[in-house]
């Protein structure tokens, strides 16, 4: 009887502990869920706090303007470039309190005076730039109209000089006396050595010089100064008129001039075929390019 009662009490105790264990598992399960929720809340993204930065009119440049205007009352606060981060946090955490001081400062009447001058500034700048550009264009047009076209004058000068040479040389060959009427340019070209065949050669030179001059796009006004602006160039011309080689005997300080000469020569190739008098050999012809033209 006692054993039976003891066994019964033991079974009761075990069932009691069984219930306790089940309850413990349920509690652990819910704790796990709670932990999961807590963990999810801990790693959740923070709420987005929208912070609107209000630029007060009394700060920065408007202060200077207020000083210019003599309205010292327009100065609201001393310039504070950026508030410290804690202040921003406070604004985010207490959104109701933050805007309170702002209207108090903004409510100062001279604020409107500070805002007004900001608008006309850009409006005034635009006409200034346009007017300046217009003025510059007008000045350039006037100067361009006053100056004769460089290419035509250079071309005419070169042609006149070449014609003079031809005339003088032609006269020499015709008379056979060689009076020495050649100009300094003629002497530079080595003309007047007494050879009878120079007439055709110079006429060919004049032709190719005019061609190169036509293809030479160069503006004298783009050079800062014309001192030492001479380019001595020798070109090797094949019998068919093709320019085989370009050699710079002397370069100008301006690369613009050097390049323009090179481009003009390249553009002019092929030149007219060499005269039959030159034979089947290629010839070297030298030119002097100056801002005034080809010599």
């Amino acid at each position: 009887m006692k054993k039976g009662q003891y066994r019964l009490s033991g079974e009761k105790k075990f069932s009691y502990w069984l219930a306790c264990a089940a309850a413990m598992h349920v509690i652990v399960f819910f704790l796990a869920i709670l932990f999961q929720l807590w963990d999810a809340g801990r790693h959740a993204e923070p709420k987005i706090v929208t912070v609107t930065l209000v630029s007060l009119p009394g700060s920065g440049a408007s202060r200077e303007y207020a000083d210019h205007e003599g309205g010292t009352e327009a100065v609201v606060t001393p310039s504070q470039p950026s508030p410290p981060p804690p202040a921003v946090k406070k604004l985010a955490s207490q959104p109701v309190q933050a805007p309170v001081p702002v209207p108090e400062k903004v409510s100062v009447p001279p604020r409107q005076i500070a805002i007004e001058p900001l608008k006309p500034k850009p409006i005034e700048k635009k006409p200034d730039i346009n007017q300046a550009l217009l003025r510059l264009k007008q000045n350039v047009d006037k100067k361009m109209s006053q100056l004769p076209p460089p290419s035509t004058t250079n071309l005419s000068n070169a042609l006149a000089r070449l014609q003079q040479k031809v005339k003088s040389e032609g006269g020499a060959t015709g008379t056979g006396s060689g009076r020495g009427q050649g100009s300094s340019s003629a002497g530079r070209n080595g003309v007047g050595r007494g050879s009878g065949g120079g007439g055709n050669d110079d006429s060919y030179k004049a032709r190719i010089a005019s061609i190169i001059q036509q293809n030479w796009s160069f503006s004298k006004q783009l050079l800062k100064n014309s001192y030492g602006m001479e380019v001595y160039v020798r070109i090797n011309i094949l019998t068919d008129g093709t320019i085989r080689q370009i050699l710079y005997d002397r370069r100008a300080p301006s690369e613009y001039l050097n390049n323009s000469v090179k481009k003009a020569l390249e553009k002019s190739s092929p030149l007219p075929a060499l005269p039959k008098e030159e034979g089947s050999r290629d010839v070297w012809i030298g030119f002097v390019f100056t801002p005034e033209g080809i010599e």
């Binding site: 105790k13 075990f14 502990w17 069984l18 306790c20 264990a21 089940a22 413990m24 598992h25 399960f29 796990a32 869920i33 999961q36 929720l37 999810a40």
Partner: protein
């Protein structure tokens, strides 16, 4: 909140039937194990404490009648129970002149109670060993089954991307985790209880002859 795909509910809702069965078995194993742990913890602690107190009183007092009266206070101790069974047998002897016969009968009664007490002490403890041994394998079975299904789904979807593989394996691994969660406390408790039971059994074996001698030599 609760519909999180990575949460506990997400794992359980996406698990297959076999995995759910495995999890339920492991949950029941865990509940029973913890119940046994709690029950045996209190039982063995009381038994050890009362046995020690009874032995102290037994060696202080030479009168078995007084010891028997005192043993009624130690209802949960193993040694007091054995002593009471021997005392009851001693009092039941009609002819106490035959010492040899009386010793045999009292010894037999004490041994029977020692055996009963051993069974009582070790009851339910083997279940802890069973849980400790089998729960990881049961969990592993659920994991293998889950991974099997996961690979089957990968074959069906024809996509071996991490997004296709990882959820299935994660669900499957829950079973292994549950098996380990059930097995680890069971194994720890089994080792502790086995050690305590062996201590009590050693006391029973050593002091049972002392009880018999005390009855026979009683003045």
């Amino acid at each position: 909140m609760l519909d999180s795909r990575l949460g506990i509910f997400g794992l359980l809702s996406d698990a297959g039937v076999v995995v759910l069965m495995v999890l339920s078995v492991l949950l029941s194993f865990s509940i029973i194990s913890w119940a046994i742990i709690a029950f045996k913890f209190g039982y063995l602690r009381k038994s050890l404490r009362e046995s020690k107190a009874f032995l102290d009183y037994f060696f202080e007092v030479n009168n078995v009648d007084k010891v028997f009266t005192e043993s009624e206070k130690f209802r949960h101790g193993s040694l007091p129970r054995v002593f009471r069974s021997g005392y009851i047998e001693y009092r039941a002897l009609g002819d106490k002149g035959d010492i040899r016969h009386a010793r045999v009968r009292i010894a037999r009664a004490v041994k029977r109670e020692v055996n009963a007490e051993n069974k009582r002490l070790s009851a339910l403890v083997p279940f802890l060993a069973t849980v400790g041994n089998t729960a990881p394998f049961i969990g592993l079975f659920g994991t293998v089954w889950g991974i099997m299904n996961s690979f089957h789904n990968i074959g069906l979807t024809q996509s071996a991307s991490l997004a296709a593989v990882a959820p299935g394996i994660s669900e499957a691994l829950v079973a292994t985790a549950a098996g380990l969660a059930a097995a680890i406390p069971a194994v720890i408790a089994y080792n502790a209880f086995t050690q305590q039971i062996s201590v009590i059994e050693r006391d029973l074996e050593e002091f049972s002859p002392e009880f018999v001698s005390a009855f026979i030599n009683e003045p």
